[in-house]
Amino acid sequence: MIKYAEFKNHQREIFHFQLRLLVSIGFVLLLSAILLMRLIYLQAIRHSHYQTLAESNRISIAPLVPNRGLIVDRNGIILARNYSGYTLEINQNKTTDVDATVNALAELIKITPKDRRRFKKMRAESHGFETLMIRNRLSDEEIARFAALQYRFPAVEIKARLFRDYPLGEKAAHLIGYIGRINENDETKLEENGLAANYRGSDYIGKTGLEQSYESDLHGITGIEEIEVDAGGRAVRVLSNSPPVSGNTLVLSVDAKLQEIAEQSFGDYRGALVAIDPNNGEVLAFVSKPGYDPNPFIDGIDTQSWNELNNSPGVPLNNRALRGQYPPGSTLKPFLALAGLYFKQRSPSDTINDPGYFMLPRWSRRYRDWKQGGHGSVDMFKAIQVSCDVYFYGLATELGIDNMFNYLSLYGFGKKTGIDLEGESSGLLPSKEWKMKRHKDIWYPGDTVSAGIGQGYNLVTPVQLALATATLANDGVAYKPHLVKEVRSSLGEVKRLIASEPIDDLKIDAIHLDLVKRAMVAVTQPGGTAVYASLGAPYRIAGKTGTAQVISMKQDEKYDAETVAERHRDHAWFIAFAPAEEPKIAVVVLAENGGHGGSTAAPIARKVLDYYLLGKIPKPMVKPKKIVEIEHD
């Protein structure tokens, strides 16, 4: 019975299989018919059309490289442009001895050792098809001299090219970035993103800064030219062309004059400054000092110059505003005060007694206040005004690291701000989980104490702190910082606005805000830690100083700026916004090894505020003399 059923099944199964096979064969026949019809269409019906095409197929398709978009500041000052110039280029395939050609050329036209080094580097990287530039920016006289003797150099040609130029040189270099020759890495990336076709014929691509992050806007669309060629491949006439579309213009929110003043205000200090309009997230100035001249990078900087830049002790290539990570120090205190109020750990009127140090119950370590002997009786207002460490040691301990982590991350600490530049660092907002993962260790109460004054594991980038300050200035409504205000077509029509929709509203209690803001104004008033900041200012400045320790002090050891090597001196912070009642600008200044925030960082911020709010151009910088000894932290 069972056997019979199986047998039946088998027969049926074969029948079904044969049926399916027939369907498959039908499918294959259908495909063949489609193919055959297509071939008949191409080869019989449309034959004469394609015949003509093939006969006249002396068409060579050449890419037309678009002009790269401009970069201008908010007032139209040009930060990156193109100019046309003549270059001398060598076609490697047409000569057997490239070096001999270069030497012969050098007798005719000035070729510097730098030119030679750059040429050597390009040669090493090239695939052998393209012509390689040996000299750029030829003068008329040089062109004439070469043209007269061109017959001696079959492998050398003069080419007209568009060059990128950064007229401001070192100014704003970190935010504009630079373009450079497309290398193998770039090619792979373009290939992966399906952009290779649009870059046929392009030699350059944005490497850093806005040139990199807005590459797709700046590059433009490559055009196509169909050229009829003769048997030797030389162009006879142009048959059709679809013109290239020039890259879009970037209109920055940055004010070039403000940027210049900010950069000058640093004097010899290394550091960073970020100024933001808190009402919309527009970045007004974005400084990283020292800067560098981006122009030599365009055609491949020679190795020697690059090493000089890279090994320079000031590390000018490092974008400190974007990538520099520093302990926030006391600039974190206003935010911690808000956390204390939010979690109701402290009321504004709660006072503590500051004997000059803080101790955890059952621990012997003394956490010292920056002021020997302490500040005496301190409430929240005074704690911010005089930057009382002991108050915040206690507040942090009461809050606990979890609450601190949760609250501070609202302001963007420990996260990338999402500013329109690539390679941003995310800083570090420590938590128990983080410490366990990173250090395989539990969180100690002492860690919380240090975190209370922005030391310990905390790290922020200047742009991060600027976002937090702007958010505070704007009553908790946060905007993503952006350097580009709008993207325009090369003809000037606005193509897109970089969004200035708020990204978050922290809904900070108005009473809490009022207290912290008033205390921050008091910071810049007599009795505060940054009196210079507002000396003689016709508007009110809310600010906070900070000091980021570079070397750690043993407990009770006294830090003495005079005896510590310059490299190990503390970093100075100053965060501010003004006018305090209705902030139009928020600014963050970091002066590396600047010592005290009040005396080095605050005056820099003041110059930026004065220019932005009053249009006042600062006099050549004079280092302020010490007035009062309250200057600390």
């Binding site: 498959s24 193919l35 071939l39 034959h47 890419p63 399906g194």
Partner: protein, 365 residues
């Protein structure tokens, strides 16, 4: 043993008709490579070497008894999976994709192995559950198909994934996956298309759009399609004559020894030549289908059917791409395009077909 006996002895497992069809196509390959390489012996000679290796492997497989073939299904599949996972972690990156695995001595592309491994595994699975096939079995078989495809898609290698998908689908289809299920899946795929589209990146969409409108990318893949269509069309009824294709010899045709060799053929031999070429393929396919129809076990039926249909798919996809009815996906013309790996994979498949045919005969007599 006389020479005659010896010859018979070593060719007993080589199917005469299939071998005839394959040989005709391979000769065409050498002929076309000589032309496409601008009358140079370089490519044809190297292709001969590829063919020699592939034919030897085919002969070896053809001589393996069926039960042995069936027993290799699981190990081959598992090996392929291990290698694919190895590629995902340790593969060499070239041209932005991670496809090759460097084993010290040789670099291999495990996705090629899976072109045979996947249908074989699925056929093995179906035979194991032959008596009691339910929807669940089809589902598990689909998993056997989609896991390696997922890995290959990640490399990323869209072309190979689609071809393996086709070969696996043929097994499902021949194993009797119900029409209703297929209809539902088809509708689901259609319905999910807009969703997929919306999650794609801008550049990925652009890339897909370019596949359908070559003029958008006249400097890239579009250029290939435009020039290939001109080559095919200008061939006319009788072609421009061997070695006289202008498109090919004036350098307008790209990749003319590999993916676009059919354009060279059409240009030089015209519609007449194309019809003859199609007839050669049809002959091979006809033989493949008749082997499938006469196969003795469930496993061999599914295997033979899938191999034959996949061969048909390769041919159609390549010719369709060259003649401009399908997007450019980078599939070589089977048995004719230059290349050792695809030659080996194809002839291994034919070796399996021969084994299926000849061992069945031996069993019967």
């Amino acid at each position: 043993m006389t020479r005659r006996q010896f010859w018979r002895h070593i060719t007993v497992h080589v199917d005469r008709q299939l071998m005839l069809g394959i040989s005709l196509l391979l000769m065409t390959s050498l002929l076309m490579l000589y032309s496409a390489d601008n009358a140079s012996w370089d490519r044809p000679l190297r292709q001969m070497f590829n063919i020699a290796i592939a034919i030897s492997c085919m002969w070896l497989i053809a001589n393996l008894p069926l039960h042995f073939l069936k027993r290799t299904a699981v190990p081959v599949y598992l090996l392929g999976m291990v290698l694919l996972i190895g590629v995902a972690f340790f593969g060499e990156i070239s041209h932005g994709a991670r496809r090759w695995l460097d084993l010290g001595v040789v670099s291999i592309q495990p996705s090629e192995l899976m072109k045979i491994g996947v249908p074989m595994m699925m056929a093995w699975y179906f035979e194991k559950h032959e008596a009691t096939l339910t929807l669940k079995n089809y589902f598990i078989a689909s998993l056997l198909l989609f896991i390696p495809i997922g890995l290959i898609l990640r490399q990323p290698d869209l072309g190979t994934s689609l071809l393996i998908l086709a070969s696996g689908f043929y097994v499902l289809f021949l194993a009797g996956l119900s029409w209703r299920v297929m209809a539902v899946m088809f509708i689901l795929a259609l319905a999910s298309a807009p969703v997929m589209w919306s999650v794609l990146h801008e550049y990925q969409r652009h890339r897909i759009m370019m596949l359908f409108d070559p003029s958008q990318d006249a400097l890239g893949n579009g250029y290939h399609t435009i020039q290939a269509t001109i080559a095919v069309g200008s061939g006319g009824l009788f072609g421009k004559g061997y070695l006289h294709g202008t498109q090919a010899h004036l350098d307008f045709l790209p990749e003319r020894t590999t993916d676009f060799i059919f354009a060279v053929f059409s240009e030089e031999f015209g519609l007449l030549g194309c019809t003859v070429l199609l007839a050669m393929y049809a002959f091979v396919l006809w033989r493949g289908f008749s082997i499938t129809a006469n196969a003795s076990t469930y496993f061999t039926r599914l295997m033979a059917g899938s191999i034959t249909l996949t061969f048909a798919t390769y041919t159609f996809v390549n010719m369709g791409m060259v003649s401009g009815i399908l997007p450019v996906v980078g599939v070589p013309l089977p048995l004719i395009s230059y290349g050792g790996t695809s030659m080996l994979t194809l002839l291994l498949g034919f070796g399996i077909l021969m084994s299926i045919e000849t061992h069945k005969k031996l069993v019967r007599t």
